[in-house]
Subunit: 368 residues, 2 copies
Amino acid sequence: MKHLPDIDPSKLEVTKTTTPKQLVPNQDLVFGRTFTEWTASQGWLAPRIAPYQNLSLDPATCVFHYAFECFEGMKAYKCPKDNSLRLFRPDKNMSRMNGSSARIALPTFDGDALIKLIGEMCKLEERFIPSEKGYSLYLRPTMIGTQRTLGVGPPGSALLYVIASPVGPYYPTGFKAINLEATDYAVRAWPGGVGDKKLGANYAPCIVPQLKAAKRGFHQNLWLFGEEEFITEVGTMNLFVCIKNKETGQKELVTAPIDGTILEGVTRDSVLSLARERLEPQGWKVSERYLRMRDIAEAEKEGRLMEVFGSGTAAIVSPVRNISWKEQMINCGLKETEEAGQITLKMKGWMEGIQYGDEEHPWSFKIP
Amino acid sequence: MKHLPDIDPSKLEVTKTTTPKQLVPNQDLVFGRTFTEWTASQGWLAPRIAPYQNLSLDPATCVFHYAFECFEGMKAYKCPKDNSLRLFRPDKNMSRMNGSSARIALPTFDGDALIKLIGEMCKLEERFIPSEKGYSLYLRPTMIGTQRTLGVGPPGSALLYVIASPVGPYYPTGFKAINLEATDYAVRAWPGGVGDKKLGANYAPCIVPQLKAAKRGFHQNLWLFGEEEFITEVGTMNLFVCIKNKETGQKELVTAPIDGTILEGVTRDSVLSLARERLEPQGWKVSERYLRMRDIAEAEKEGRLMEVFGSGTAAIVSPVRNISWKEQMINCGLKETEEAGQITLKMKGWMEGIQYGDEEHPWSFKIP
């Protein structure tokens, strides 16, 4: 097989906008676009950075019909100490994105090359990133199949692009604990499926259960799996449970194991690592294991359920107040006057400390 | 809630192309486009028929990120007797499409209105449809979410469009039996999932297993389910098995039941109806029931496996020669010199007779 070009940052072409946007950080403002095209015969073409603009695609393009699409969510931060721009574990996003694209027959690419291009774009858009904790530039690497065909087969061409949007703090006035509804009538993912990949395909089917939960007053729904009703994830977040052992009273931080039915969150992995490094010495046990809804319900009744939180790129951690399950309302351990538990607060502090460069850490990638 | 407009064919606007395409029927030639847009605040806007052209979409459009997309496959036929244009059970496609769109929070629509618009487009493109058996105009109704947002939520706007492509016979030189590989390492669908809906999300994840089967010399892969390895479907076709009962010798036509894990094929439903009407009087039993791979393997060994075929819009029926399963090669009943079994041949004849109007039948919808 002929060796085809991978992404080559040295061939980057930059077209700056002639109508620069005003400095109004706003979650709806999307701008900037770095992109590179791929064809089966030529490999990855020269990358470009260009002003934000529409894509022009044939209505028979395979992304519209067969969901040839995958994405990543990541953020660029500005360090208040030295004004350096930083990414958080971008290598994890790149390897996950390559895993996603390979699973749906889209091309893979050199992750370091894309990190370099993202860095160039961040530098260009630097003025949109305040050096204040909570603010960042949200980055959305996206890959779509662009072949014009109604035939169901591997795409012969693809577009890889990154768009950016300045975002403020997820909880501008401090944490607000959320309420979840456990979903028992629909299933998000299953063994042998693609629920562990960041594919568009995993998202559209989640909306109706989310809307149903919202109608009943819940912020999100919690996906269960199997007759045992194992806790999996929240669709846009992984879930962590702090629980005391029935027999020993041992404090344990538990999240669902990587078995193909949950997204392999970068924040999930970071929370686990930090917990192993910083909570285990304080007597905690850290576990990736199955937890059933009835285990949580039982722990609540026995006063052993300490704290529950979601983890994801948007909010880092999201405290959970209640989970509704089978006519029961499980109180996850927060007092009425509290919006977040101790572990949730600690995790947010540790994570932000690393993301914004207060603490020098190998996870914080300084854009050169 | 305010009553919002549904699709209104009386508001149809037609723009004819100024550069008509040459009469070269070709499966790659895609043209014609009828479309209507929807917004959450205005409902369905006035429909239009316009020359084939690209769509211009923001890179943050939700169809690119979260797979808000569903489609249908159908055909328009020209009746050799009276040159009338006909659709085959278009109401089935419309109700399935509404089921698909509702499942992913896209808007639903008046199916009869869309059938009317499709009819208008077919009349405009009539010269591309030869009145010869096997030829038809392939129609691809497609709905995509068009809201420009990276937020994971219900799309506030959508585009419903239909594109068309003239197609010739699927088997131009007569049937060619295909070989299938049973897939045991990946799972297409799950109870409580969306495998029964015609969503883009169900297609991209099927390609890699298909390619793996192709590398080993198979035309398609056959999706199994569960530890019992129930036969489900072929990804682009439903599957029918003709088998003799072990005890009684009773001939039985079997296909997987509608349980959420198989697409509810229009051709599948038609084959079942025709079999009940025309094969049962000849002594056949017609069943929608679970069949395990080992049931087929056993039937082959005991000389009870008569015939296997797939069913779908593209080929109507596709005869199967072999199924590879766990180091076994199951011969599905065809002689070396045969390319299709008796039931497969009969079904094709019956279906085409109805589709092309040889036989007047309520399934054949004459475009007025």
